[in-house]
């Protein structure tokens, strides 16, 4: 995940070539939309309006259709995020195992609301649907890494590592 202030130029030739290749590989241009969004998010940190328009132009979908997709998939980000994104599962198994406490602790740590960038710029916490880790509830997803079960202590430690930029995915 790149930084919240990523300034990757959407007109960057290499990026555009990569996106065009994704479209070309797909059986119909529209079908490439998820890959295009993923690549754009990776490059830019999140899908801003400009990126959304570009994705629409490249795939031939209307901007509304692209936004439908972006808002449907909770892994697509439409707002800037911190260096790391922590998704805290709040679905049923995790809820029973104390997800609310995890969410509260994480939010207090950030000092801002869910989905917003913490004051340090390092972290964004987002409540999330089941991530398939119900056996290790309460679970969280940090960037691409699923962790659990979480408790107060483990979370404190994790947050400290993220803050200090020393956290590494296993």
């Amino acid at each position: 995940m790149s930084s919240p202030t990523s300034t990757v130029d959407l007109h960057d030739d290499a990026l555009l070539a990569r996106l065009r290749a994704l479209v070309a590989e797909s059986p119909v241009p529209e079908a490439a939309i998820s890959e295009v969004l993923q690549a754009l998010q990776k490059a830019r940190g999140y899908i801003d309006d400009e990126a959304l328009q570009l994705a629409a132009t490249l795939t031939g979908l209307s901007p509304v259709k692209v936004e439908e997709l972006c808002t449907f998939y909770s892994l697509v980000l439409r707002e800037p995020v911190g260096t790391h994104v922590m998704r805290v599962c709040d679905s049923i198994a995790c809820h029973m195992a104390g997800a609310q406490d995890i969410l509260t602790q994480a939010r207090q740590h950030c000092g801002v609301g869910f989905g917003e960038v913490s004051r340090s710029g390092k972290l964004t916490v987002i409540p999330h649907v089941c991530i398939g880790m119900c056996d290790r509830a309460p679970a969280v997803l940090v960037d691409q890494e699923a962790l659990g079960p979480m408790d107060k202590q483990a979370l404190t430690q994790l947050l400290a590592q993220l803050e200090a930029d020393v956290w590494k995915p296993s």
């Binding site: 509304v64 439908e68 449907f72």
Partner: protein, 765 residues
Amino acid sequence: MKHVFYLDGQEIPFVPGQNVLEATIAAGQDRQIPYFCFHPALGSLGACRQCAVKMYSHDSKHPPRITMACLLPASDDLQLVTLENDVHTEHREIIELLMTNHPLDCPVCDEGGQCHLQDMTVQTGHSVRHYGGPKRTYRNQNLGPLVYQEMNRCITCYRCVRFYQDAALGEDFGVFGSRNRVSFGRLEDGPLESPFSGNLVEVCPTGVFTDKVFRHDYVRVWDLQQGPSVCPHCAVGCNTTPGARLGTLRRIRNRQHPEINGHFLCDRGRYAFPYVTAHSRPLQPRLKGETSRQEAVLRQLASRLEEGRSGFLGSPREDLQSNLGLFALADCLHAPFAAVTSSWAEALAQQCLALPQAPSLQEVAAADRIVVIGDLDSIAPMAGFAVRQALGRGARLTVLASSRTGLARKGDYRPLRPSALRDQVAQLADDPCLQGGRVPVLLATAETLGPSGLYALRKTLEKLPANARAGAFVNRPNLFGAAYFAADGHTERLQQALRQREINHLLCLGADPLGEDWGAGAWRTLSSGLEGFALLDMVDSATARAAEALLPVAAFPERAGLFVNYEGRIQAFAPVYQREAQVLHSAVHGSGFPDAAGGMKHPLGPPSPLFWLGRLAELLHVHEAWQKRLDFYLHFLCPAAPDPDSPGVLLPDTIRARFEIATLPLPPTVGPEQWELDIFRWYGGETLADTAEDLQSLAPLRGLRVHPDVQAASATLQGPCGQLHLPVIPCEDMVQGVIAIDQEGFAELGLYPGDPVEVTWEQEP
């Protein structure tokens, strides 16, 4: 063979292919099956889970099970039950779930009283919300002047988005989010772009989307006077239900006509109605610009007519009887009569009527090869909607036009200058775009083709297989009715009489020869030979302002009448309410209400044109002869006058047969280097609609549209009747070498679509 299934022991007939809910609704027996996501025109989705029925099998091996009626194909002898506790519980509980987040704001909701959700909730008996959690709250969007959004009332039936995207092929409205935070709207605030956006108001079964224009002057639906009417804003003739209260029209809703508009209307049809309440609408008779008593105006007019030097001018904007009434009066007085303002329009009308039977919109929707010529959406939007339905069923669409229109984006677009377009129409019979299909249909905006192009279209049709059909559209409700009188050079004779000073007075009905009607440029010159003219009309116009005598007439929902639509279908409309001539603001009581003691009477609104014409006939002592002729013509055209609630009757073939026209219309001659003129329109524009403020706030800028390769800020056009200076609007969608201006511009110049034009480009704005 008759097919039936049983619902709670009652026989329900069905047509194979129908689902159980569809058949039950069609049979009017849906009291026991609540539903949301199913819509007769949008089909089943199975999303709301509301339409549960219990199905019993004929053998004892399979226990009865609950299933969704909208997803269950109707089949013979199905045994279905709803009157059992478990079905009823299901109905109640599902609605309780759907209502979890509903704000229960019926008292302040515009939908209240006509709300499907209210009805279903009462019907299923749900009354207590067991879930104690907080309700979800949305930020609403401003969707422009026509549709109001209150997202909290949504029950996620998806009807809106299925209508907007799947049926109307709109691209600026969608469904966002997932799970319990789904919302429906635009990417960002702003007016909805589809010409059919107002249908959201009717397809949404709750109060999420309501009519924003109705909101300005709202009344509860049970206080509305409603009745069957026909849309007066184009030749399609969609069926409508106007709703009025206290002498003013408040809204227009769809009235189903299976062969024409189905469940929908275009935004012009729905939102143009404020022409009846426009401040500029003439409500009192006027003599030389001053409000006058009706008897005085009638006498003055009668004495003019008595001089025997009057001509008569009807209009395709007026209904059939009124035109006949005028024609009959002209006939009694042996005076020249024309139904349209120019010979070009007359030839156009003749060519339209000479086309063989046009397809109904239902038939258009079933076609599989469609050629659209011109900007159909902007002339007759619902015809464009039928094309979209056909596209949804896999039809192949080819669009011939001089700019990339809304429909052109949905099919194969052939950008053509008007002259090339006419040539191409003549070649269409061998064109691959019509090959390989079962049902070819050609739809044209009449003005784009002009008389010669329409003639070419008819010849092309003769070469196509016998089931090929063609339809020509105008933005007038009764061109086909007026065309009957437009048959043999009437307009030229009328103008000739004026030029030769045989007449010095003109009685016009619903026409605007000095304003924006076709040929207005010529009339402005001709009118110098007039000592005066009279007008019967319901809107303000250049002609109304200049008229010596002005007799205001009832708007269409205020009277009965007949329109003949583009198919030659005669449809009747009924008076829905009576307009007050003056809104009562009693100085004494300070209120708008009539005196409780009955001392103050509502002054009556303007009468129908036939009333005025009848009075004139009386004053001229020709009433009996006039009435006889009127009845005779009416009987001839329409032996059995249709009822407003009926689907209408088609003009007899004998009438169409009159229109094998002897003289061939000639196309304008255009050199390769010359600029060609085409018409620019938008879906909300039309004479009556032009006074509807909310709708007009969406109107595109006035100017001269041309491909951006022309570097100019403004331009001066030169026509036989005048000059026109307009700002240049560069437009990517235009074909090079073509200039598009609005109808007023054509009237000013004295030119017609497809004509070559002289232009001077200027750098100064």
